[in-house]
């Protein structure tokens, strides 16, 4: 059985500082003006009754990935570990996957003219037993990453201690990225 990766984003710990976004850019040579990962901050409410929401925007590594099923060339594929990758050599930049992705996680790399997205830093880090760059760098430990099969792993422990929210779960995509919702945020 393959690995069961999970990445947990704790909105309570995130301060929106963008360190993860810059680390991702450096690690993956992400070109100017495009992002594999961003954190958006939204101030809600009316002065002085305000709240701030933190939203992490990136690939959520679906177990049922719509981007893979629409790909005409099999450039988008799922590995045995359940991670969704893109084979740049096979990508014809048809953008079907960009439209199919409910998380708006994919974009065209303007330098290579192929589709690109977060890959959990698989080649450069995770395959070498290192954490993804964003997880490693986070100043406030808001991100945790690991294999759910290991009971002692931080992700396993957090998954049992906290209430996790899987983004757009109703679509049946079964993301590997989960959120711990902000207790001090603002609904509406």
């Amino acid at each position: 059985m393959g690995k069961q990766y999970r990445l947990i984003y704790d909105e309570n710990l995130c301060i929106g500082c963008q360190a993860c976004s810059v680390a991702c850019r450096v690690e993956n040579s992400v070109p100017d003006e495009v992002y594999r990962l961003q954190v958006h901050l939204h101030t809600k409410g009316e002065f002085p009754n305000l709240g701030m929401n933190f939203e992490r925007l990136s690939c959520v590594m679906c177990e049922n990935p719509p981007c893979v099923s629409v790909c005409p060339t099999n450039a988008s594929f799922q590995s045995k570990d359940g991670l969704v990758h893109i084979d740049e050599r096979a990508c014809i930049a048809c953008k079907y996957c960009i439209l199919a992705c409910p998380y708006h996680a994919r974009f065209i790399n303007p330098l290579k003219n192929v589709v690109e997205k977060c890959n959990f830093c698989y080649e450069t880090r995770v395959s070498k037993e290192l954490l993804p760059a964003c997880v490693s760098i986070c100043p406030t430990d808001a991100l945790s990453f690991g294999d759910m099969r290991h009971k002692h792993s931080l992700v396993h422990q957090k998954s049992h201690k906290e209430v996790l929210v899987f983004p757009k779960a109703h679509l049946g995509t079964k993301p590997k990225v989960a959120f711990i919702p902000n207790r001090k945020g603002m609904k509406s």
């Binding site: 929106g16 360190a19 101030t43």
Partner: protein, 761 residues
Amino acid sequence: MAYFQARRDFLKLATKSATATVLIPGSLGALGEVALRGEDKFVRSICEMCSSRCPMEARVINGKTVLLQGNAFAKEMGTSLCAKGVAGSSQLYDSQRLVSPLIRVGKRGENRWREASFEEALNLVSTKLSALKERYGARSVIFSSKTGEHYDLLRSFASAFGSPNVFSHWSSCPIAIESAFHHTFGEKLHRDFENATYILNFGHNLFEGLDISLTKAMAHFCANPSKKLVVLDPRFSIIAAKADEWHSIKPGSDLAFVLALLHVWIRDGKFDHTFVEQYTIGFDALVDAVKETTPQWQQTRTGIDASVVERIAAELYAATPRCIIDWGHKATTTQAEFQRSRAILIANILMGNVEKEGGIYLTKSAKRVNALAKESIVPELNDPFPRLQINEPRIDGAGEEGAYCFVSKQHGVLTAIPEAILSQKPYEIKGWFLTRHNPLITVADPQKMKEAMEQLEFIVVNDIYLSDTAMMADVILPECTYLERDEGISTLTCKVPTYAMRNKIVAPLHENKSAIEIIRALAERMGYGSHYAWKNSSELRAFQAKGNAELLQTLLLRGVASFDVPFFCARESSLVERFCERYPKSRAWVDAQGCFGHLLTHLKTPSGKIEIYCDAVEKIFKGYGVPRSVDMDVSQGLPYVLTSGKSAVHTNGHTQNVPYLSRLLSSNPIWMHPSTAKAHGLKMGDTFYLQNAIAKEKATVFITEGIRPDTLFAYMGFGRDAPSLARTHGKGTNVSKFLSLASAPICGAMITNVGVNIIKA
């Protein structure tokens, strides 16, 4: 432009130097060469993208730095680093960086240059400085620097040169809190956020002005439902958003809130009587000073309901001693900044949290720990930067009789410089040597500062970018970035003795030199070579470490060194006992309560105790001996108060042009409440003018619910006039242009809240 290298050339250079990069400084006698081998090389060093100096680690592949992250050998860091820190490599390879010394060919400030070799540039600087000294005396040259090793170097050099006029950036930043600590404790204390349960925060925004270990501790504090954070800030900052309670206090009125807290605690007798009695002097004077500062009294000043003060006072008292009244770094500064800072420290003292877990604590320096243990458990360092006593008056009068008698001669009052130059009083100033200091962005009234700089005969600037201040220079010496240079050992001690060292990660691009090399080369040329016990960074380190090869090796390989000394609070008997078990001779210090109480009765204050009342201050500044209600106005009769602060992706005036960071935040539109915008007919993104008696500047508006209607806010460091900073040139507003050169009494702090009008464009 000729002095900008094409990006491709930079990368080529970086690759070419690959073989040299991983050879960490060779000639450390006892060590020989330490080479890191393997496919990926890891070099541990210290970040310099801001002044927090976080320990970091670089992964180097083929001589090009790949990813910078926190240095996990510093356990409170882990692998964490902020956006600025990670973007360090983007600064390193920035095509807009200076890579050659420049000599002015046009008029001063005209931005016309010719490239020169370091040899020529250094010769010119040494000749000119020597000539100024000859003709007008050494005191005619000002030396200013950012803090850190640059400052230590420059201060030492200035003393060899013979000038008393040394300035750090302190008076434009933390000088008020430093001064308050000096007068209260005789030294600076730290906050134990990890173990606190209740924190009252006055705009200390650790989530936008990051210091990784403190930021991390604060983030975990905020995320813990069993703890409570209360934030007072006119703006809904990120830390306000993470708080359990946010109160949008009127700018400048923090002092009123704290005085009301003190009033309530004293009125109800709810404070640590034993602590106050045993360790402090001057409590009676405080009782008298806060008699009238009731919660009702503060309500009109702060805009916060009296009942809130009553409740917070009770909650803090209930949480003692694990509560912290957090002073911040530089918050809502007013004329009252010294009193505000002192009042906050005294609030901590009344809560009896000093040297308690979850409270505030003295630095556990090598010297202090060794003295307690009565044995040498931590190596102590030599000071490699000798300072000669200069018996000349300073131009700002710092440390001398007069308004700035309590300002340290080591730091000075930056805002006093323009007037001194323009009036030639107390004497003529002819030259200025700035290293990594950009007063035209970071100090009040740059218009006047520029006018003054135009009067000078010779200005030399050491920087990595052609900044607004560098544009005024005769000679610009391009420094290498922190990733390209070795430095001496620096002290990171808070809870336990810790040293760190900046280690070169890649060889300098082009021919850039480090400040150590620049200053040392100038000293040699000017005949001050014998001032130093070292010739280069390797010798400097060896001298500093007193030849301790083990320490140096640890610092070379790990970037940090700590010594397994257990943390203790002098007033936590169980922690004192743990320390004594490890170091039995320290039992001699233990008092009847099982504490190291003597640490708090032998402070460097005149009485040796904690001084709630400062006699020396009262004698010269009547009414300032204890915190009182004074000087809180920041609007000067104008309808709005302009405030400023940091963002998580920029540092003061330093990073706005760094490619990756410029991309994240490239301008500073002014925060404005919707009702204020509506009253002035402004829509999101509209251009308007800000105006006060000092300046009228264009700005754009960012409309947000997250600010008081009577307050405006801008991220600092924008509005750059230097065309060479192509990414940031002409974007945003330089808020320093509205600030007055008048500084806060006693401490000499620049005042960063100011009244303005909104004028429609």
